[in-house]
């Protein structure tokens, strides 16, 4: 079988929605399906379409711990969209295709490590599920995730925050003007992974020229420097000028040209809610670019509605190239300094709001460091107003290389938490197998 340029996993989940009238609704990819079918893209020899397979709950539990459990928080649609990413990973790793695009719903980049419900339309971080699968199944170590959704992928940032082998780069509309309100350059990773979480908040109105300057001036050189084994693109499409939830000015051609430059091994659909005016064209553009076909003729019918960005947008881009470039270049020294300062333990407090369900969660996350291994983590979580009432849990997360001493310390810590009787659940996560033990 000849290798195709692009493996396409198209799964519009026509029978799944969050609630009636919600932007994450059944017909979100209807017009996209119409456009792709009408273009005849599914017949092209450059493109091979795949039927997705369902993920297993354990696949989801490699990056996630659900309270009370992942199984109780998801619908079959989540196993399908995560499964679509695994199908994409297999297609690329087997060599059947050069690269793959999981054009699937529901999305995932706002889902964090601990899951109590739906936030930002997401329950399961499908890219994180795929990253951990690539490691367990194929032994891949260094992965870059480039998030081109208009929203800050705070879930992806959360999951990868301690991991120096995942470089997470997100550009997005400035958090002061858009959900979820995070994603500033100073959120650059925990001490052990400082500089591997790069946030690039853009001013509202930024368009093709701005994102391409940002890519050429910063993202591309950083990627070249990092030398990942695989590049993953969280291919949200809400930077489009017609998106109803955001205020940017990117075009279908701008997105396609970016996909062409990025040459991601695997792209995964994230947001994008201009279902009539943007998605059909942006997806056509990205697919053509990834399949190494001509995308120059992909032009939205209402391109005249596009406004020229304010010059301050480009000024911000130049500042970011400078500021975040410095973070990247100084990551080793700064990381060492931070580690020296915090000793064998680093803590952060998080208040997390689940907009979809009105859940308020308080977290205390502790990274335990070790000189022989990557250490382990403990998370104390309290959530009010979940669909299972108020929840409390103490979660201990092992890393893949956690040494025997650290494993013992982690188990002891979990037992201590249990004896304290302060938590409803004591859970212990094994990232390699996705097994979550109840202590």
């Amino acid at each position: 079988m000849k290798q195709a340029n692009l493996g396409l996993i198209f799964f519009p989940a026509f029978d799944w929605m969050i609630s009636p009238g919600h932007p994450e609704r059944q017909e979100r990819l209807l017009y996209t399906r119409d456009q792709l079918t009408e273009e005849g893209l599914f017949d092209r020899p450059e493109i091979r379409e795949y039927r997705l397979r369902m993920a297993e709950v354990n696949d989801l539990q490699r990056p996630h711990v659900g309270v009370p459990s992942i199984a109780k928080l998801i619908t079959p649609a989540h196993l399908a969209s995560a499964g679509g990413c695994l199908t994409a990973a297999d297609a690329v790793m087997s060599g059947e295709v050069k690269r793959a695009f999981a054009l699937v719903r529901p999305p995932g980049h706002h889902a964090m490590r601990i899951v109590h419900g739906i936030r930002g339309f997401c329950t399961i971080n499908i890219e994180a599920v795929m990253v951990e699968y690539l490691r367990s199944r194929y032994g891949i170590k260094k992965i870059a995730v480039v998030d081109t959704d208009v929203h800050h992928g705070d879930g992806s940032q959360d999951v990868f925050y301690h991991d120096p082998n995942v470089l997470y780069i997100s550009f997005h509309q400035d958090g002061r003007t858009l959900y979820p309100g995070t994603g500033f350059p100073n959120e650059a990773g925990s001490p052990a992974a400082w500089g591997y979480n790069l946030n690039l908040p853009l001013l509202p109105g930024s368009g093709d020229k701005e994102i391409h300057r940002l890519f050429d001036g910063l993202i591309k050189p950083v990627l070249d420097d990092f030398e990942p084994e695989l590049i993953i693109n969280s291919a949200g499409q809400d930077n489009h000028f017609s998106d109803p939830l955001a205020s940017m000015s990117v075009t279908a051609h701008g997105y396609a040209a970016l996909a062409d430059k990025l040459k991601a091994d695997i792209a995964v659909l994230e947001g994008g809610y201009s279902i009539e005016a943007a998605l059909p064209y942006v997806n056509t553009g990205i697919i053509l670019a990834m399949a190494e076909m001509d995308y120059s003729k992909v032009i939205e019918p209402d391109i005249r509605a596009l406004r020229t960005p304010d010059p301050r947008c480009m000024t911000r881009v130049e500042q970011l190239i400078d500021q975040v470039g410095t973070i990247w270049r100084s990551r080793h020294e700064v990381g060492k300094m931070l580690l020296d300062k915090c000793g064998n333990k680093w803590q952060r407090k998080k208040g997390i709001y689940y907009d979809e369900e009105g859940i308020r969660e308080e977290q205390l996350e502790t990274a335990h460091y070790c000189t022989k291994c990557s250490g382990w983590m403990s998370i104390d979580t309290n959530a009010r107003g979940t669909r299972y009432g108020d929840q409390s849990a103490y979660v201990v997360c092992l890393h893949r290389d956690t040494c025997a001493d650290c494993q013992k310390a982690a188990y002891d810590d979990a037992l201590r938490a249990k004896q304290s009787c302060a938590y409803k659940y004591i859970l212990l996560q094994h990232p390699d197998t996705g097994v979550v033990e109840t202590i």
Binding site: W16, E27, T37, D43, P280, T284
Partner: protein, 581 residues
């Protein structure tokens, strides 16, 4: 009110159908003719049984003589005035395409924005401005004054094909362009939106192109058939078999001649259905002289492919069965390899047992006592010449059989895989899956019994060999049902519905919903069939979609998409007759 009236029409039609439909006993005479590459078969079916059947060599270059020969053989003594209907299946269109005997076509497309269509069509198209968006809104009209030469017809080019992206959502631009082209002297203009109501601009365009390209050949063939029948005083209406197993009146087929491509395999599938459709999940194998046609069945119905047929390397919108042809048949040549053998795809001619010069697969079957005809001694001698060092004749025959079975089994495995990986778009479809677990094999055709029994043993599946498989193709043609498919799309925000196959675009009746859509489309299909004097069939829904549309945060309406057809298949089952090999 309109809605109410339509209901009435619908019910009246439904009643008519029962009256007009052939009854289960089949008390009419039907004539089926299959003009194949090697043989022209004719079959006369009367009162639910094969009354007469004949196989005559196809006369290349002068198809008519073969048809007449076969006709004369089956009509001998029959009362031709009793013949109700004649159905022809023919490779004429397929051959015209594979041999490149087509006429020049002017192809004009309106692509709008999107994929670059360079290389997508058999000829480079004239790119015309104007396009329709995915909701069916005309985003731009054709600016004729900007296209110099568009309307200057080249001498010798008399047919044109016109196709626009999303023309199935709004065919207006196609109509305007076709109208202008006709004014400039094209005799016939084929429209993509009329050849298929389904999305896929590339496939519709190719369908329109091929329809135009074979138009002349097909028209000539139609005239020859009509003349031959008239010559034998047959006045019954003539229908043409399509690749999806339905039939079309000759007159309607002239408007979409590309539908008459690949009818040979379709006829064979229908023949199998007529001779006792396989129940449960079955795989049928029609073993001919040079090829074996493999088809899938679910509860007595052959499965249609999810996508249209390929013509050469071009995908079209022509619907066809999920089937595959492999180069293994009774006359397959055997090549001796250092280890083992290769069987087919070349044909060696008749078996040594029947006086042929080279050993064939049939000879191997005879040696293994899986077939019994001709001179067994001759088969043993012929296979004997192929033995490897120290190999017995039996062992060589077995190795030859295994090599043939490998080819067939691999094709089946690929078809099963293809079926199982077809993408699905809903969570419930992912969960329910679409694996096809075959429960039995059905063999027809001259070489079937021995070969398929051996295959069944290997695959661990029971085998059924219905009698009468020799002329299954012609039987299938004789009994094929008339059919026509069409789609309806309504976007309630726009306030109209469209049946692209007809260009019918009308205001939505009050209280419009899926059920009302089904009634409208069903009535239209029966109207269409009535207009062609086709016997009515049951209509069935091929696919339906329903979406509430939201603009911003507000509910704005509904999108209803519906595709229905007059059910293809056979009129009734018959008992076949055993024929000596």
């Amino acid at each position: 009110m309109i809605y109410y009236l339509r209901r009435q029409v619908f019910f009246a039609r439904a009643l008519n159908i029962t009256l007009l439909q052939f009854n289960g006993r089949g008390e009419v005479m039907l004539l089926g003719i299959d003009v194949g590459g090697t043989f022209t078969d004719a079959v006369l079916v009367d009162s639910g049984a094969v009354y007469a059947q004949a196989k005559r060599p196809t006369t290349h270059g002068e198809v008519l003589r073969g048809i007449l020969d076969a006709l004369d053989a089956v009509l001998d003594g029959a009362d031709v005035t009793q013949i109700e209907r004649v159905v022809i299946s023919s490779t004429i269109v397929t051959n015209a395409l594979t041999e490149g005997k087509t006429q020049p076509v002017f192809l004009a497309v309106m692509t709008g924005p999107g994929m670059n269509v360079k290389g997508c069509f058999p000829v480079e198209p004239y790119l015309v401005s104007g396009y329709v968006d995915h909701r069916g809104k005309i985003a731009a009209r054709t600016e004729f004054n900007k296209h110099y030469g568009l309307l200057d017809r080249q001498s010798g080019v008399t047919v044109a094909a016109v196709s626009g992206k999303f023309a199935v959502r709004n065919p207006e631009n196609e109509y305007v362009l076709a109208h202008e082209l006709k004014k400039s002297g094209y005799k016939k203009v084929f429209l993509g939106s009329e050849l298929s109501g389904e999305l896929n601009f590339i496939r519709r365009t190719n369908s329109a192109y091929f329809a135009a390209a074979v138009d002349k050949t097909f028209e000539a063939f139609g005239k020859q058939v009509e003349w031959a029948l008239k010559e034998r005083s047959i006045t019954a209406p003539v229908q043409i078999l399509k690749a999806d197993g339905g039939t079309l009146p000759l007159e309607a087929a002239l408007k979409q001649p590309v539908e008459a491509v690949f009818t040979g395999p379709a006829a064979s599938v229908l023949g199998i259905e007529a001779l006792g459709a396989p129940q449960g999940k079955s795989i049928s194998l029609d073993v001919g002289g040079t090829t074996t046609d493999i088809a899938f069945w679910d509860n007595g119905e052959p499965l249609l492919a999810k996508k249209g047929a390929m013509i050469g390397r071009y995908p079209t919108a022509v619907r066809s069965f999920h089937m595959r042809s492999v180069g293994i048949g009774g006359d397959s040549a055997i090549t001796k390899l250092p280890q083992g053998f290769k069987v087919g795809p070349e044909r060696a001619g008749r078996a040594a047992a029947l006086g042929g010069t080279a050993p064939t697969l049939a000879d191997a079957l005879i040696v293994l006592r899986l077939a019994d005809f001709g001179d067994r001694e001759a088969s043993v001698n012929a296979i004997g010449t192929l033995c490897h060092d120290g190999e017995t004749t039996e062992a060589a025959a077995q190795a030859i059989l295994d090599a043939a079975l490998d080819v067939i089994e691999n094709a089946i495995k690929e078809m099963l895989h293809e079926w199982s990986i077809q993408p699905v778009y809903t969570v419930s479809d992912v969960i329910s899956g679409s694996d096809f677990g075959p429960q039995q094999l059905v063999g027809v055709g001259g070489g079937a019994p021995g070969l398929i029994h051996a295959l069944g043993k290997r695959m661990g599946l029971p085998v059924i060999i219905p009698p009468g498989g020799m002329v299954a193709n012609a039987i299938g043609a004789a009994l094929a049902r008339p059919t026509v498919a069409a789609s309806l799309r309504a976007d309630t925000t726009e306030g109209y519905y469209l049946i692209p196959e007809s260009g019918k675009r009308e205001r939505l009746p009050k209280r419009f919903n899926m059920q009302a859509a089904e009634e409208i489309l069903s009535a239209w299909l029966h109207d269409k069939a009535g207009g062609w004097q086709m016997e009515g069939n049951e209509t069935e829904v091929i696919s339906r979609e329903y979406f509430r549309t939201v603009h911003g945060y507000y509910d704005t309406g509904e999108i209803i998409y519906l595709r229905m057809q007059l059910k293809p298949g056979i009129l009734y089952k018959i008992t076949g007759r055993e024929v000596a090999f």
